[in-house]
C-alpha cells in the first residue's frame, strides 16, 4: 500500500508539474485575450492579422478564446477574463446600455436567418410559424430576425413554442427534426440547409429587414480597460486593419487559416465569405469620415426599440477616435 501511495503521489506531482509548466514562456509580447465566435466573420481579419505577423509587429500576442455568442462575451469581459471581444448585431444593445464600448467596426453582416422545414408545415409565410416549435438563442441578432418576422404578421414569441437553446443544440435539433423552425446564424445556417436539403428554406434574414436595421458587427472592450490600455488598443486596431486589408486580397488563404483555427473544412469556411460586405481599412476610414458608419450604428440603435434609450448618442459607446488614430 505504501508503495502504491508513493507511486500515486509521484505521478500526481509530475502531472501537476506538467500542467503547471504548460503555459507559454514569456515571449516579450503583450498578451491580449480575444473572444471570438466560431465563424468566418468573427475570425477573418483577426486570424489574417495574426498569421501575417501584424499583431506581433505591434508587440501583441493574441490568445483566442471561443464563445458561442456576443452577450456571453460581454459577460466574460465584465468578469475580467477577456480583454477584447467580437459581437454580432444582437449584443450591441448591451453596448448602447453602457455595458461595453465599441472600438472598431467589423462589418455589416447577413449571416442570421430564420429557417423553416417544409415537411413540418412551415411555409414562406411567417404566419405558418404559429404554434410551431422554434429554437432560438436569446440575445442574438437571429432572435431579432425571428421577432421581426413574427411581428410582421401580427404574432409574438408567445404564439410559438419557443425553445431557448445554443446554436449547436439548435443545429442538432433541426437536423434531427426535433424543431419545426429555428433562428440561427452562419455557419450553423449553412449546416442546417445542407443537411436538410430542399426541405429547409430561409424564411427571413438580415436582408429581409434591411429597412429596419443594419446588422453591424463590432469589436468591443470594457470602458475601464480601454482607458488603461489606450496605446495597446490603438496598436491592436492597427493590426486588425492590416488583417482586414490582407483578407480583401487573399480570401482563399484567409479561409484556410480560419478553417485551421476552427478545426473545420476549408469549404465550410469559404462558403461564409458572402456573409457580409467586407471593407478594407481605407474604405472604413472613408466611411467613418463621411458619417456612413455612424449612421449605420444609429439605424441599428433605433432597431432595438424600447430595449435601449434611443437618445443615447452613438459617440457615447463607439470610439471613433481609436479607429481614426489607428489609421494614422
Amino acid at each position: 500500500m505504501k508503495k502504491l501511495i508513493a507511486l500515486i503521489l509521484i505521478a500526481a506531482i509530475a502531472l501537476a508539474g506538467a500542467f503547471a509548466s504548460g503555459s507559454k514562456e514569456d515571449s516579450g509580447l503583450e498578451k491580449v485575450r480575444v473572444a471570438y465566435m466560431t465563424n468566418y466573420a468573427s475570425l477573418c481579419s483577426l486570424v489574417a492579422g495574426m498569421e501575417t505577423g501584424a499583431f506581433a509587429e505591434q508587440g501583441i500576442e493574441v490568445e483566442l478564446v471561443e464563445f458561442a455568442d456576443g452577450p456571453t462575451i460581454i459577460a466574460a469581459m465584465e468578469s475580467g477574463s477577456i480583454d477584447i471581444g467580437y459581437i454580432g448585431h444582437g449584443a450591441h444593445k448591451l453596448c448602447i446600455n453602457g455595458n461595453a464600448e465599441i472600438f472598431a467596426f467589423s462589418h455589416v453582416g447577413n449571416g442570421d436567418a430564420v429557417i423553416g422545414l417544409r415537411s413540418h408545415g412551415v411555409t414562406e409565410d411567417p404566419a405558418s410559424l404559429k404554434g410551431k416549435s422554434v429554437g432560438y438563442a436569446s440575445g442574438t441578432s437571429s432572435e431579432l430576425i425571428l421577432r421581426w418576422a413574427l411581428e410582421g404578421v401580427g404574432l409574438t414569441m408567445d404564439d410559438i413554442t419557443a425553445y431557448e437553446m445554443d446554436a449547436a443544440a439548435i443545429t442538432s435539433a433541426m437536423t434531427s427534426g426535433a424543431l419545426d423552425a429555428c433562428a440561427n446564424w452562419s455557419p450553423a445556417t449553412f449546416t442546417i440547409l445542407d443537411a436538410m436539403g430542399d426541405d429547409a428554406f430561409i424564411l427571413a434574414d438580415n436582408v429581409t429587414f434591411s429597412d429596419r436595421s443594419a446588422s453591424v458587427a463590432s469589436w468591443i472592450v470594457m470602458e475601464e480597460w480601454a482607458a488603461e490600455n489606450h496605446d495597446l488598443l490603438v496598436r491592436f486596431t492597427k493590426a486588425l486593419y492590416k488583417g482586414m486589408d490582407f483578407r480583401a486580397e487573399n480570401i482563399e488563404q484567409t479561409a484556410e487559416w480560419v478553417a485551421a483555427v476552427l478545426g473545420t473544412s476549408y469549404d465550410t469556411v469559404y462558403a461564409q465569405r458572402g456573409d457580409a460586405e467586407w471593407l478594407t481599412s481605407t474604405e472604413l476610414i472613408e466611411q467613418i469620415n463621411d458619417g456612413t458608419i455612424e449612421s449605420l450604428y444609429e439605424v441599428q440603435k433605433q432597431s432595438f426599440g424600447s430595449e435601449v434609450d434611443p437618445a443615447t448618442p452613438v459617440s457615447d459607446y463607439v470610439m471613433f477616435d481609436i479607429m481614426l488614430e489607428a489609421a494614422q
Binding site: 500542467f19 465566435m37 468578469s79 437553446m165
Partner: protein
C-alpha cells in the same frame, strides 16, 4: 481530465456498490452520481457557451471531439439549468448524510435520530430552483433574487462544512489505529468529491436559464465560463482529487479483497474444525473419563494421606482441568451462547486470575479507558478466551526475555467495545498468521501446548458476535484486538 475523473469516480462507486451492496456504498454511489450530474451539466453548458482557452478545455474535456459531443447535445437552457441545480443541491446533502453514516461519536448518533430534518432546507432550495418556479418567484423582485442566491449558497457551504467537520470529528474520536486506517480512505473519497464539487460550488445555476435577462446578467457575476482557478491551480486541484479518490477507492477495493480472503479463510477454518470436531469430541470424552478415573484415584490417595498438601493441589488442578474441558466442549459443540448482561471489569479480572493461577509472577498493565462497561456475554467463556490470549502474550514475552507487564487496554470504540492485548514478544511470523486459529495448531515448541487456545478464543468471541484481529505493535510484538458489540449500539452485523 475533469470529465475523466468524475466518470472514474462514478464508475468505481458503482462497481463498489455492485460488489458490496450495502447502505454505505449506496450512499457513496449516490453522492458520486449527484457530483457527476452537477459536473456533466456544467461541462455541457461550458461546451455550448465557450469562453475557455485550449488548455482549460483540455483539462476539462480531454479532446476536442469530446467537447463537441457535449456542445451538440440537444437540450434547452432550462433543462440544463434544472439538471445543474439538481446536482448542486443534492450533493451537499448526500455528502453530509454519507459522512454521518460513517460517524459514531455521540453527537453524530444524536443527529442520526433526526436525520429527516437535514432534508428540509435542500428540498426547499431545490424546489425554488426549478426554472419555472425560480422565474416566477424573482420576476421583478431583485431583493428576493439576491436572497435566494445567498440562501442557496449558505445551504451549500454549511452542509459541506458540516460534512467535513463530521469526518474530522469522527477521525478524532477514533483511537484504534486499525479503525483509523479504515476510516481514512473513506474520508479521502469524501474529500476528493468535495474538492471537485468546490470547483463550481460557488456558482448559481440559475445563470444558465437567466443569462440573457439583463437584470440577472450583470447582477451576480460570471460564472461557470470563467475558470475560478488559474490553469496550474486547476491542475493541482484535479490531481489532488485524483490522488485522494484513487487512494480511497483502491483502499476500499483492497479492503474488500481482504474481507473476501478472510471469508475464504473462515470457510477453510470451518471445514478443518468440522473435520477436527469428531476428534475433539472423542478427545474430550476420553480425557474426561481419564480425569474422572484420576479423580477417584486421587480421592483414595487423599483418604490415605489426608494431610498431604500436594495431593490437595493435584485434586484442585484435576477439577479445574475438568471445568476447562467442559468449556471447550460447550464452545466446540454449539454455535449458540447464552449471553447475559455482564460487567466487563470482572470478566477481565477473572481472565487475569486464570493466567496467574498458572503464572503467579505474571504482570499486567491495565488501561481502562471507559468505566462501567457492560456487555452481553457468557462471563466464564469470555474470560477464558481473554485469559488464553493473555497467557499467550505472557509466554511470548517470557520467551523473548522481556520482563515487563503485558498491556491490556479496553474501552469503547465507535460501535464496539475493544479489548487490546499487546506484548513485547517476537510477534507472529506472517506465514503462520492464517494458521493460528486452526485447531491443534501451535507454533510453540512445547509439549504443554495443544494448539486449542486460539481456536477456542476465536470461537468464543465469535459466539459473542464479536471479532478478533491481529496486528504488530510498536515494539514488534503481537497485538490482538477483540471487538465486541457495544451494548445499545445499533449493531447490524456489518462493519463500522
Amino acid at each position: 481530465m475533469l470529465l475523466a475523473l468524475v466518470s472514474l469516480m462514478l464508475l468505481t462507486s458503482i462497481v463498489l456498490l455492485a460488489i458490496r451492496r450495502d447502505r454505505r456504498c449506496l450512499l457513496i454511489a449516490l453522492t458520486c452520481a449527484s457530483l457527476a450530474l452537477f459536473i456533466f451539466s456544467i461541462l455541457t453548458y461550458i461546451a455550448k457557451k465557450g469562453g475557455i482557452g485550449r488548455e482549460i478545455s483540455a483539462i476539462l474535456y480531454g479532446t476536442r471531439s469530446v467537447r463537441d459531443w457535449f456542445q451538440y447535445l440537444i437540450m434547452t437552457f432550462e433543462e440544463l439549468g434544472a439538471l445543474t441545480a439538481a446536482g448542486r443541491y443534492s450533493f451537499p446533502l448526500l455528502l453530509l448524510v454519507t459522512a454521518l453514516d460513517m460517524a459514531y461519536f455521540d453527537f453524530a448518533l444524536r443527529i442520526k435520530k433526526h436525520i429527516w430534518m437535514l432534508f428540509i432546507l435542500p428540498l426547499l432550495v431545490s424546489v425554488c430552483y426549478i426554472p419555472a418556479v425560480f422565474k416566477g418567484l424573482i420576476d421583478g423582485r431583485e431583493m428576493l433574487l439576491r436572497l435566494l442566491v445567498i440562501l442557496s449558497s449558505c445551504y451549500v457551504y454549511s452542509y459541506l462544512a458540516a460534512a467535513l467537520a463530521m469526518a474530522a470529528a469522527e477521525y478524532r474520536s477514533i483511537t484504534l489505529p486499525f479503525f483509523r486506517r479504515r476510516f481514512i480512505p473513506r474520508s479521502m473519497i469524501l474529500l476528493s468529491l468535495a474538492m471537485v464539487y468546490a470547483l463550481y460550488a460557488a456558482q448559481d445555476p440559475a445563470q444558465i436559464y437567466m443569462f440573457y435577462r439583463s437584470d440577472y446578467m450583470f447582477l451576480l457575476g460570471l460564472w461557470y465560463l470563467t475558470p475560478g482557478l488559474s490553469q496550474p491551480m486547476y491542475a493541482i486541484v484535479l490531481v489532488g482529487s485524483i490522488v485522494f479518490s484513487v487512494l480511497g477507492f483502491v483502499y476500499l477495493l483492497r479492503y474488500m479483497s481482504i474481507n473476501f480472503d478472510s471469508r475464504k479463510e473462515e470457510i477453510t477454518l470451518k471445514r478443518n474444525a468440522s473435520t477436527a470436531s469428531r476428534g475433539i469430541s472423542m478427545f474430550i470424552h476420553g480425557t474426561k473419563n481419564e480425569l474422572l478415573s484420576m479423580d477417584i484415584l486421587l480421592r483414595r490417595i487423599a483418604r490415605r494421606y489426608p494431610d498431604d498438601a500436594d495431593i490437595a493441589k493435584l485434586m484442585e488442578i484435576n477439577s479445574s482441568l475438568g471445568e476447562r474441558l467442559q468449556s471447550l466442549h460447550r464452545s466446540s459443540k454449539s454455535d449458540c451462547s447464552l449471553l447475559t448482561l455482564t460487567a466487563l471489569d470482572p470478566v477481565i479480572e477473572k481472565a487475569i486470575r486464570q493466567v496467574r493461577s498458572r503464572y503467579p509472577e505474571a504482570g499486567f498493565e491495565i488501561i481502562r479507558k471507559d468505566a462501567g462497561i457492560a456487555i452481553l456475554a457468557d462471563g466464564s467463556i469470555l474470560s477464558e478466551a481473554i485469559g488464553n490470549l493473555l497467557m499467550n502474550a505472557y509466554e511470548a514475552q517470557r520467551e523473548n526475555g522481556q520482563d515487563v507487564p503485558v498491556r491490556l487496554e479496553y474501552g469503547l470504540e465507535r460501535l464496539w467495545v475493544s479489548i487490546r492485548i499487546s506484548d513485547r514478544g517476537k510477534g507472529i511470523d506472517p506465514r503462520h498468521l492464517r494458521q493460528i486459529y486452526q485447531p491443534f495448531y501451535s507454533s510453540k515448541n512445547s509439549s504443554q501446548n495443544w494448539g486449542m487456545g486460539m481456536y477456542f478464543s476465536k470461537n468464543a468471541i465469535k459466539g459473542h458476535l464479536g471479532s478478533i484481529r491481529y496486528e504488530r505493535n510498536e515494539w514488534g510484538g503481537s497485538c490482538f484486538i477483540i471487538l465486541l458489540p457495544k451494548l445499545g449500539s445499533p449493531y447490524t452485523g456489518g462493519e463500522a
